[in-house]
């Protein structure tokens, strides 16, 4: 049994909120550089150049990459040999988000009630997913999610008879509907299988996988590659202003499902696909 004081969780999450909103991970930076080299539209190329410059300014001047610093999504993988002390874990996580967003000059974009819409003024609460895993470590993944792209995400409850072609059509139709609204070039997190909410979770989690890492399952890897190629032939391009770079990656996660169903969730993220990972 290992004991972890929850104040360590708070301090770590505060740092992660600030880090994720000012610095993109290496895989995302590399993907943007590669896109800039291969984009065929001159205007598209100019926009990709601006996105690279934007990242540089964000890091150097500590201005958030995007003004929508997102709703804080936390994946918390807890080793089953860990014991937390010093307070309630969920409160500690939200305190980390509060300090990160208030002290880090990040935008407060969360409203307390979806209908009455009063801003909570500190970006809490976070959306938190807990997972129990073997071991005595805690892995924190912080992924601030902007809503320009979140609003363009979709779930389809397909029939088994729709098969893989149905899945492809679902992905392509989501991208087409999103178009310029989702701030392309986008990253797609796709969940296939599970139940209604499980496939949405799979899609969200898929966005945290490095964009240069393909699925271990051969047919899923092929599907990821085929979809990326097809999406980039849609013509939407950087900023939706035309071009050959509409997506940087398609990350697909699968899970067993019911004999009667084929759920597919497409969680769209913009080119500011942020995540920060720490292991305690």
């Amino acid at each position: 049994m290992r004991t972890i004081d929850v104040s360590l969780v708070t301090d770590t999450i505060k740092d992660m909120c600030i880090e994720a909103n000012h610095f993109l991970s290496e895989d995302m930076k590399n993907a943007l550089n590669k896109a800039h080299d291969t984009e065929k539209s001159p205007l598209g190329c100019q926009i990709l150049g601006q996105l690279q410059e934007n990242l540089k300014i964000a890091g150097e001047d500590m201005i958030p990459i995007c003004q929508d610093t997102g709703m804080a999504v936390l994946f918390v993988e807890i080793g089953q040999d860990v014991h937390f002390e010093g307070g309630n874990l969920e409160d500690a996580i939200n305190e980390g988000v509060r300090r990160g967003y208030v002290d880090g000059y990040l935008r407060k974009s969360v409203v307390k009630d979806p209908i009455y819409r009063e801003n909570t003024k500190d970006n809490t609460p976070a959306v938190i997913y807990y997972e129990m895993v073997p071991g005595d470590q805690v892995k924190l993944t912080m992924a601030p999610k902007g809503f320009g792209s979140e609003n363009m995400s979709k779930i389809f409850m397909l029939k088994p008879a729709d098969g893989i072609e149905g899945v492809k059509n679902a992905i392509l139709s989501a991208v087409k509907d999103a178009g310029p609204n989702a701030c392309p070039p986008m990253v797609l997190g796709v969940g296939i299988g599970g139940t209604f909410e499980k496939c949405a979770y799979l899609a969200k989690k898929a966005l945290t996988r490095p964009v240069d890492q393909r699925s271990d399952i051969p047919y899923v890897k092929e599907l990821e590659e085929e979809m990326l190629e097809k999406i980039n032939k849609s013509g939407i391009g950087p900023g939706g202003l035309g071009g050959t770079t509409t997506a940087l990656a398609v990350n697909i996660n699968t899970y067993p499902t019911h004999i009667a169903g084929l759920p597919v969730a497409i969680n769209i993220c913009c080119h500011v696909n942020r995540h920060s990972v720490r292991v305690l």
Binding site: K40, I63, K108, G179, P180, G240
Partner: protein, 183 residues
């Protein structure tokens, strides 16, 4: 075509812009997004005065991140314009000449753009740090309680935008996709 345009936007300048033009705006613009539009819409319904003059002005759909000390503003990129589609035609009919945001607009907004000789421009979404460099000052002029969604008066210099829907109703998003689409 690259253009340098002063804002507020004159009727002549608005009509002279073509979809696809790369435009640098210099002068005064105002920010408003979801909550501010809702309030202005309700004010109009109640026959109350709006907090800003619409005639020949440009609204930037944007809610910034907080400014660090000594800076005019934080990250300041565009938000999705379609969420303002419900409100935009009324404001255009009052003389609003330009809108800056990102993403598609409804047919009703396009019709109002053509009817009023206005223009819809896009700033690059997700480039809020870069765009903040073209903003010289920022002052909250209304709805302070809305935080990031308050109405701000911005002084901008060479603020970069691209004309998406021009006064003739032509739409760059629809045309550009045809040029590079293979499906």
């Amino acid at each position: 075509m690259d253009r340098h345009i002063n804002v507020p936007l004159s009727d002549e300048d608005a009509k002279s812009l073509n979809y696809g033009d790369y435009v640098y705006l210099t002068g005064t613009i105002y920010t408003a997004r979801d909550a501010a539009h809702k309030r202005m819409y309700e004010a109009l319904a109640n026959k109350e005065a709006l907090p800003m003059e619409m005639k020949n002005n440009v609204i930037y759909y944007m809610g910034p991140s907080p400014a660090r000390e000594g800076r005019p503003i934080g990250s300041a990129g565009p938000t999705t314009a379609s969420r303002m589609d419900k409100y935009a035609p009324s404001l255009l009919d009052l003389g609003l000449k330009g809108m800056v945001g990102k993403g598609k607009r409804s047919q009703a907004v396009k019709d109002a753009i053509v009817r009023n000789g206005a223009v819809y421009m896009a700033a690059v979404g997700g480039a809020g740090a870069l765009l903040s460099r073209s903003i010289l000052s920022s002052e909250v002029i209304a709805y302070d309680d809305l935080g990031t969604e308050a109405i701000r008066k911005l002084e901008v210099k060479d603020f970069p935008v691209i004309v998406v829907i021009d006064a003739q109703g032509r739409d760059l998003y629809e045309e550009a996709i045809k040029e590079y689409g293979e499906q």
